[in-house]
Symmetry: C2
């Protein structure tokens, strides 16, 4: 907890974002195994990479590296594997030939979409036990926090 200028007591912002939220997310999904990911023998990084491209339509290696939270050397290895399995395509960006743009193949898109749906369903189940009042309050808080977070520049940089 922490006090603000007017003496009110609030949750410690750092504890909230660094402890409480990550723990909540992890607790919610830690025991859930994504069926389609298992069927297709995808580990966490490979899945997260596919979902990152799925969400963006296309993305560069660096952008995905930030998103998946791995070094660029690792991203190369992940892209190698996904490409070998026919799930993604690589092509040089014609505007900036240093960049490599990744897109999903038909097979990759199908798998990514199914995984996303499975994860989303599993996650949302957690909220079934909430009362209507709590659900409304949560949604209000989420909308509010979302609008503030989106004001921070880096978050919206897109496919940088």
């Amino acid at each position: 907890m922490a006090e603000n200028d007017s003496g009110e007591v609030h949750v410690d912002l750092f504890a909230f974002f660094a402890d409480i939220i990550p723990r909540f997310i992890h607790e919610t999904l830690k025991n859930y195994i994504v069926p389609t990911a298992v069927e297709n023998n995808l580990n966490k990084s490979q899945l997260r990479t596919l979902l990152g491209i799925y969400k963006r339509g296309k993305a560069t290696m660096s952008c995905l590296g930030h998103w998946v939270n791995v070094e660029k050397g690792t991203m190369t290895a992940i892209a190698d594997t996904l490409h070998e399995r026919g799930l993604i395509q690589r092509q040089r960006d014609s505007d900036d030939r240093r960049k490599v743009v990744l897109t999903l193949t038909g097979a990759g898109e199908k798998i990514a979409g199914e995984c996303r749906e499975e994860l989303s369903s599993a996650f949302l189940e957690r909220f079934n036990s909430l009362s209507d009042a709590d659900r409304r309050e949560l949604w209000k808080a989420v909308d509010s926090m979302n609008s503030i977070i989106s004001k921070f520049g880096e978050y919206n940089k897109g496919n940088e």
Copy 2:
């Protein structure tokens, strides 16, 4: 985005927790290198383990494994290293002799406290640019979300 029963449009809860929040946390701290962690040659898992014990006072291997998000075999290796360096103590739980309880040594506590403070300061700097109105709204949303999240059982199970 998603619609609720009354037709209002809200942020998609799954996207918020699985995409937006993790990305915000990562973006906020990705370029920050914790000085005390570097000085003491601690990698991310070792640091997170120390901070996990610091926050809880003491914790079992399993509890920390969940917290750090690694398999138990990995947790054994991490604990080995931290113990060799004199930062933690291991002892069997006398109530349940299967369990191993980890606590910080004096040296470990000092390092963990410094790292926590450094991370917290770096994180909170991000919010300096917010207007007073936004800051109040954010804090309100955080308090609200925190109270709802804390109703979910598993989150509060403690040193399970």
